[in-house]
Subunit: 239 residues, 2 copies
DNA sequence: AAACGTTTGTGCACGTTTTCACAAAGCCAG
DNA sequence: CTGGCTTTGTGAAAACGTGCACAAACGTTT
């Protein structure tokens, strides 16, 4: 049967964890671990073992009862499911502080997302080389995208320019966008959008800090209202 | 009554959205908008209006029926609830590519998280200045943290050094950590951890891309198995 | 002061995600 | 080849998050 691909739809929450498993499994394979149980993998990923098993079960029944999972095979299966069997070059819009940092950050290329192009609207930046790639003008984005068959774009402009950048990316034929600005962007139906807002992550931490501070002095103050602030939370992956 | 603070516990999903509302409300206030309805705010934030109202209801009943919310007052309330009434200086561990980029990125300081210190284990980096702050040695982290009363640490080291960095941060007295490495770190109970893995976000997008690709050619192939791949998803905020 | 249009705050139903718990399945020893 | 130990895969329950729908509350107009 040719029908091995695209089985049942994988829940979004699981999709967000598969990359974490993938990374851990890769590391384990490197150091010679050939087999791993859901319990061990869960420990390393910082999650519940049952969750690991259910997540992996969406890929198919690739474990062996009483034994565990073959690390190498599992790596292959996750890569296949996530579409990581080949590289996905990305185009970065914005060659400012953040754009340069992303271009120079090896973590992208190392994990299958080489920088296939950088564009900026500012002529004074065009022509310079960051991360080994020459900056081109925003007007040339379509050529850049098509020449290397790029389908993922990264927005690293100032917030005010984010929507324009998104529009340019869509017009150039990109179908997935990772937005590093704090601005919410609108895109046509059918385009996937991911968002990373560095300040938001810090603000969430600030909330927990402030809560801790209140709780500390609260043990006395709160006794009046009868409220009691419980233990502490933990936060996991990016999402 | 003195008991105005720390009412019922706010759901994590709501905490993750409050910074988005905060940013939008700030912008609206800047351009002279004094009042806003849940409908308008929802539109700008790209979410459902009922969700906005429910989120805001955790802060208290600060809206006026038939009118909407007072923008300035709402900004104040969200800032208070998130603990953003004062700055939270952060210490960055790792002055490499990523650490330098973060230190130079204005988005941190602008939103209340000034870089209070940068440390690195590599002597050759110590003494250089990035983002206006002089890099100090990892051994001095405790002095850096205590001198400026820092409670938030940012890990921007290579993945292999992440756990050491976390240990150093905890030992220095930091109680919240934002981890930019792909490595899962273990911390004592009571320490909050946030994680941003740039590659994971791209891998999630790759999954959607690959799914789209399969669906495109699948219309013929899948007719055999009777499977049909539905429309398309959308992804929102960071976490 | 009543009638009207608007918008909040929230009960309820629904969908998704997590966790529990255990039968089925494999390996190994004797 | 039987019995015991281990670990998977998955139903079912619980917890959580989302969106609808509507009563209650407010301002305005007559």
């Amino acid at each position: 049967m040719a029908a091995q691909r695209s089985r049942r739809r994988i829940p979004e929450a699981t999709v967000a964890r598969l990359p974490v498993y993938l990374r851990i499994l890769g590391e384990q394979f490197e150091i010679g671990v050939a087999n791993i149980s859901s319990e061990e993998l869960a420990e390393l990923a910082g999650v519940n073992a049952a969750k690991v098993r259910k997540d992996l079960s969406y890929l198919g029944s690739y474990g062996t009862r009483g034994v565990g999972y073959d690390v190498e095979f599992l790596v292959y299966q996750i890569r296949r499911e996530l579409g990581l069997t080949h590289d996905w070059p990305v185009v970065i819009v914005g060659a400012g502080n953040l754009g340069q940092a992303l271009a120079g950050y090896n973590g992208f290329g190392d994990r299958g997302f080489p920088v296939g192009g950088i564009v900026d609207i500012d002529d004074s930046k065009v022509g310079s080389v960051v991360g080994g790639v020459r900056v081109r003008h925003l007007d040339e984005i379509k050529q850049v995208v098509q020449a290397r068959n790029i389908s993922i774009g990264v927005i690293a402009t100032p917030g005010a320019a984010a929507q324009d950048a998104a529009d340019s990316l869509v017009a150039a034929g990109v179908t997935s966008i990772l937005n590093f600005t704090p601005t919410v962007i609108n895109v046509p139906h059918g385009i996937s959008v991911g968002k990373v807002d560095l300040a938001v992550e810090l603000q969430i931490l600030a909330y927990h800090e402030q809560r801790r501070a209140n709780a500390a002095q609260g043990s006395v103050m709160q006794s009046l209202s009868g409220l009691l602030i419980p233990g502490e939370s933990r936060r996991g992956a990016s999402a």
